[in-house]
């Protein structure tokens, strides 16, 4: 209560307001991320891959056969740090040049899932009634269809070309259903909270309430899901490229693995094993980075952690545990 009075008494200038906004919206999250080693490591990994996918191809030569000797092992030479393939292609070149389309694929799939899942989940939860039951029936059906086999069948039947964005969407084709369900049940609990009810009584329109009161509360869910989907796209696409059931027109980590196993017998022959191992490590490190970043993001949306890091917000009782009533 005293907080209220104080806020009302002090009238802020616009400059102060801007500074406070900057502090709360940008600096506080940054501080939180930097404060936690896991989030820091995750951020570092993700930024590295982003650089790899954007400026990487400018610095690393394009992969082509006979760039060097055949099947040079990893970490042997500076020229081919990750070794070469059976046809003498530089593995580092392959990995770097496969990154841009991978990033497009990941982003497309994750955005598709999150947008569709959030939209359907909030709509069903907030509207209720007929809308809800129709949407949830569709959701339930989508949820019980096996994702990867569906992707395989669609990719074959639709004769898609190797467009990475389309593949990204295809791989997460029914992943929105799980998110929509989770979001809906969250919306159902939030919908009847007092502050949302207050907005409704004040005559705010449904979109305003959803955007202002409901979506911010779902952000932790949405971020977690974004990362989960990103991981699913990586795992799924690489797996399917590895099986050779997706069309491609550029090098890809999964295609590399496929070639390593089928052309050089990388599983049975130690001299070609690095060819298989390098793309696998590339996937694991990226997935781990995303997971760590998601955990950090979870902290950003935790209001208590946030308040401690925002300097402009009076954090009076931030550190004292709630010891009064149990």
């Amino acid at each position: 209560m005293s907080e209220f009075e104080r806020m009302a008494e002090v009238s802020m200038t616009n400059a102060e307001r801007r500074r406070q906004w900057l502090d709360e919206a940008v600096l506080a999250p940054a501080r939180i991320v930097w404060d936690d080693w896991r989030a820091r490591a995750g951020l570092l990994v993700v930024v590295t891959y982003l650089l790899l996918g954007t400026v990487g191809p400018l610095f690393v030569s394009e992969p082509k056969p006979n760039q060097g000797p055949l099947l040079v092992g990893a970490f042997r030479t500076l020229e081919y740090p990750l070794g070469t393939t059976a046809s003498g292609t530089n593995i580092l070149s392959q990995i770097v040049h496969a990154t841009p389309s991978m990033l497009v694929m990941i982003t497309a799939g994750a955005v598709f899932t999150v947008v569709l899942g959030t939209a359907i989940g909030t709509l069903a939860g907030y509207k209720g009634g007929q809308t809800d039951s129709v949407l949830m029936t569709v959701t339930d059906i989508m949820m019980t269809v096996p994702g990867l086999p569906l992707t395989i069948v669609l990719a074959t039947a639709l004769q898609i070309k190797g467009n990475p964005a389309v593949i990204g969407v295809l791989i997460t084709i029914n992943a929105w259903a799980g998110l929509a369900r989770a979001i809906r049940s969250q919306v159902l609990t939030i919908r009847d909270d007092e502050y949302v009810e207050a907005s409704r009584i004040m005559g705010m329109s449904t979109p305003t309430i959803v955007a202002g009161d409901i979506i911010p509360n779902l952000m932790p869910y949405i971020t977690m899901n974004f990362v989960q989907q990103a991981r699913a796209v990586i795992f799924g696409s690489v797996g399917l490229y590895f099986l050779g059931v997706l069309p491609y027109n550029k090098v890809n980590w999964g295609v590399m693995m496929n070639a390593a196993v089928n052309r050089a017998g990388a599983t049975s022959s130690p001299s070609a094993f690095h060819w298989l191992l390098m793309p696998m490590l590339t996937i694991i490190v990226l997935a781990l980075g995303l997971t760590l970043l998601a955990q950090g993001a979870d902290r950003i949306f935790n209001p208590r952690v946030r308040a401690r890091h925002a300097k402009s917000v009076a954090s009076g009782d931030g550190d004292t545990p709630n010891t009064g009533d149990i």
């Binding site: 019980t144 269809v145 039947a157 690489v238 599983t267 298989l276």
Partner: protein, 336 residues
Amino acid sequence: MSYVLKRLGRSFLTIFVVVSASFGLIRLLPGGPLDYLRAQMIQQGGSDLSTAEINRRIAAQTNIAVDEPVYVQYIDYMTAIFRGDFGQSIWYDQSVAGVIGPAIPWTVFLTATALFLAFTVGVSLGAFMAYKEGSTFDVGSTGVGLVLNSTPGYVVALLFIAFLGYRLQLFPTGGRYASELTPGLNVPFLASVLYHGTLPILSMAIVAFGGWALSMRGNSIRVLGEDYLRVARLRGLPTRRIALRYVARNAILPMYTGLMIAIGTVFGGAVIIENIFAYPGIGFYLIQAINARDSPLMMGAFILITVAMVIGITVADLTYGWLDPRAKGGASRESY
């Protein structure tokens, strides 16, 4: 009771929609499987085959009579599928049901065992981590769990094949059982099945149990802070009862939703794993069909994978309603 009926109805609806969709995929898409099949036949038979003959053959293979109106084709297709007639496989030159039917139990064996292993090990580990919250064991296990959670099953499978299969020669690198054995309820056969199944199952289980452990850990820590746990302690209940009836049960129940999603993930993952280990399950035939452009086999495999998964999820859902009193009356799974 009405809840069970409603749930079963929804499962049936799902299968119905998927079968209808596969009809749509086969029949309606230009340049889709049907056109491809026709082109293939013309190529093979040359000009000897009349259009009517080609249509007849297509009908025999796909259950779709091309010269009938679409709705008749649809009804024919649906009735055939629901009678268990999935058409003829082009590649294997026998009925799709005959190819895939025997593969179903093998896929179910792999996925169910992997799921069970990952879940039980993960849940026990997670509970123990929560109990030792903050200890070196907890921190270490969390780290291991995170890494495993970031590894796809096929990577583990490939590493297994390379090291345990080829390098150390400890496990077979493919197949369902040693070919010289007679299938049946005899010890050498069952042992061989387990032996051949070990690596595929472990590949799927190892990457999954870390995730279960982490969520069990989180849930247990949350339950440990609940009022009813404090009241239970004050009431002087024995530790064992509190651990099992209070903490474990209330921490595991919310994970049931995850279990249902996991069924889907495991079935999807099995497609890749079965191919790496050349393990003739449904997923193996699905990829075979795609490589051979055998669309009746492909759609049959897809429909059967869906049916298997729908059954799995329905069973999980119904047992959940039975385990968690709050789920009664259809308001299920809202509390996660």
